[in-house]
Amino acid sequence: MGEKPIKGEQKAFMTGNEAVAWAALAADAEIMYGYPITPQNEVMQYWTRLAPKYDKRFLQTEDELSAGFTTVGGVLAGRRAFTATAGPGNVLMQEPMSMAEAMRIPTVVVIQQRGGPSTATVIYSQQEVTLTCFGGNGEGLRIVYSTSSHQELFDYTIKAFNTAWKYRFPTFVLADGYQAKMRESLVLYDPQAKGIEMVPTESFVGKPGTPGEDRPPAHLRNTYNTEEELFDVLSKNIREFEENAPEITEYEEFNTDDADLLLIAHGIVFRSAAMAARELAGEGQKVGYFRPITLRPFPQEELRQAAAKAKQVMVVESAYGQLLKLVKENLYGMEVPIKTHLRPGVGITPEEIVADTKKILGEGE
């Protein structure tokens, strides 16, 4: 192998897409497969510029079905392989990712959410939460990190490879067009310099030796003769997903003791929610926030504990109730009132949240 792409730590000011490409390089990803779609294009564009210098490969495929299935192939060959997509590409990506999910193939996919179907907007939304968490004909046995900044895009893209290869579930980094296209400062680093060891990869096919003589052949399949046979496989996968969930889930919270209002938000909207909460807290209001970093698996216990101490919660998102659905499911049985601030397909400013919060808290008196 040639030189390391990043030595030690390096300050940078760049777009989120560029940060993803650097993170994949830093994580020693070996091959990217992809199909152009805004707002993800520059991940491929930076990767193709940087990759040959570090002996990495790229294949531009004929569509996202192919991008997903070639990524599956790359992983089967034992490589750290990934793809990136958005919107309608994410829809097509669900067919290959359902194969990866059922066969426990550690693919990594970066999603830069855009609005609506087709080319509704190529700019921004948080409308791909349900699709990314539960798309495909399966049980949603995947890991979804929702990032909120360029630093996190870098951190979690590296982490996604390790999570995928450690637990063998398809892993998604879920961001959006704002994060993709904005420029922000961040620190790039060589994971090793930070004490992060990359989880080693392993070939699913083409291991040394002759199958049937020196070793059993790999017979990988998604075809079963009976319902019970499939049930056994699924039960094992579900058990492993649930057993590992506490280790995988990540969240962040602020001012959750005794909040009059607990804001719940993810991704870039969380940043607005956090600014709003801090501003209101500074004014002496009892406002906190809870942010799930992993949307799958969801930090259920932690949210329930925070919600138990709050008078009410408010879900804030750039979608019409996709995070809300997750929140309701995870708060099932609790009586805390749930308010909403839902703005499908558009960004949300701290000012809007502050105004809405004040209205709600005013009403309550």
Binding site: E30, I31, Y33, R57, L59, T61, E62, D63, L65, S66, F69, T70, T71, V72, G73, G74, L76, A77, G78, R79, A81, E95, P96, M99, S203, F204, V205, G206, K207, P208, G209, T210, P211, G212, E213, P217, A218, H219, L220, R221, N222, T223
Partner: protein
């Protein structure tokens, strides 16, 4: 005369007798493939990918690493493996529905990109696994479950001529042939040429195998063979369409 071993060494005996219906052509195509894998001595580096369709019944057919994928998606999975590890020899095994309908964009693009893979496609003029609906290769006038009065080409279009198309869109260095389970030795030679082409890193390789489906054709042995040997062979001329030297058949 050379006496061939009855059962290829690369076959997985634990999954035999195989799961195809009596009189099915799939078993013959896979027998040819097994013998070729043995003769080329590549059992340790072949990856066999099978589609959804009756080809999926071959998921444990061989003692070679095998991946059963989704309907139409075997080509991109094999492309992904080959691009990630060019040392491996990959075979994408599929039906005419998988290759010419739902997965046609993958076939066309892998062929034009000159991916160094081998696609082995079984043409039985029908969607066999789903119970005998029309396939892209259903013959004009042929009755199927979705063309109960016979394929009307004015409504349902004409049969897909796969090797003809693939040879038109591939570069020099590609290998394209159509064989038939009725001409076993020829078919086997074509499969061998295709895999050799991949091993020599010359280019894309593609073999269509004319095959039988007595179950969905609802034919007895005699009629099965006659349909294959006469009607199908008329519509779909066997032979080599493209060889790396540029020689025709």
């Amino acid at each position: 005369m050379e006496v061939l071993p009855k059962i290829p060494k690369s076959w997985n005996l634990e999954s035999k007798p195989h799961k195809f219906c009596p009189g099915c052509g799939h078993g013959l195509v896979l027998k040819a493939l097994g013998q070729v894998i043995d003769e080329l001595g590549i059992q340790d580096r072949v990856v066999f990918g099978c589609d959804i369709g009756c080809s999926l019944l071959a998921w444990d057919f061989f003692n070679v690493d095998s991946v059963q994928t989704h309907h139409g998606r075997t080509t991109p999975v094999m492309v992904g493996i080959k691009r990630a590890n060019p040392e491996l020899i990959v075979v994408a095994y599929m039906g005419d529905g998988g290759g010419y309908a739902i997965g046609s964009q993958h076939l066309v693009n892998a062929a034009t990109r000159d991916d160094k893979i081998t696609v082995l496609l079984v043409n039985n003029t029908i969607y066999a696994m789903t119970g005998g609906q029309m396939a892209p290769t259903t013959m004009p006038g042929q009755k199927t479950e979705t063309t109960p009065y016979g394929r009307d080409v004015g409504v349902a279009g004409y049969p897909m001529m796969g090797p003809e198309m693939v040879s038109a869109i591939t570069q020099e260095g590609a290998y394209v042939a159509r064989g038939s389970v009725a001409r076993f030795r020829k078919l086997k030679q074509y499969i061998k040429n295709a895999l050799q082409n991949q091993m020599d890193e010359r280019g894309f390789s593609f073999v269509e195998a004319l095959s039988t489906c007595p179950t969905n054709w609802r034919t007895n042995a005699e009629k099965t063979w006659a349909f294959l040997e006469e009607q199908m062979t008329d519509q779909y001329p066997p032979g080599e369409f493209k060889t790396p030297q540029g020689k025709e058949g």
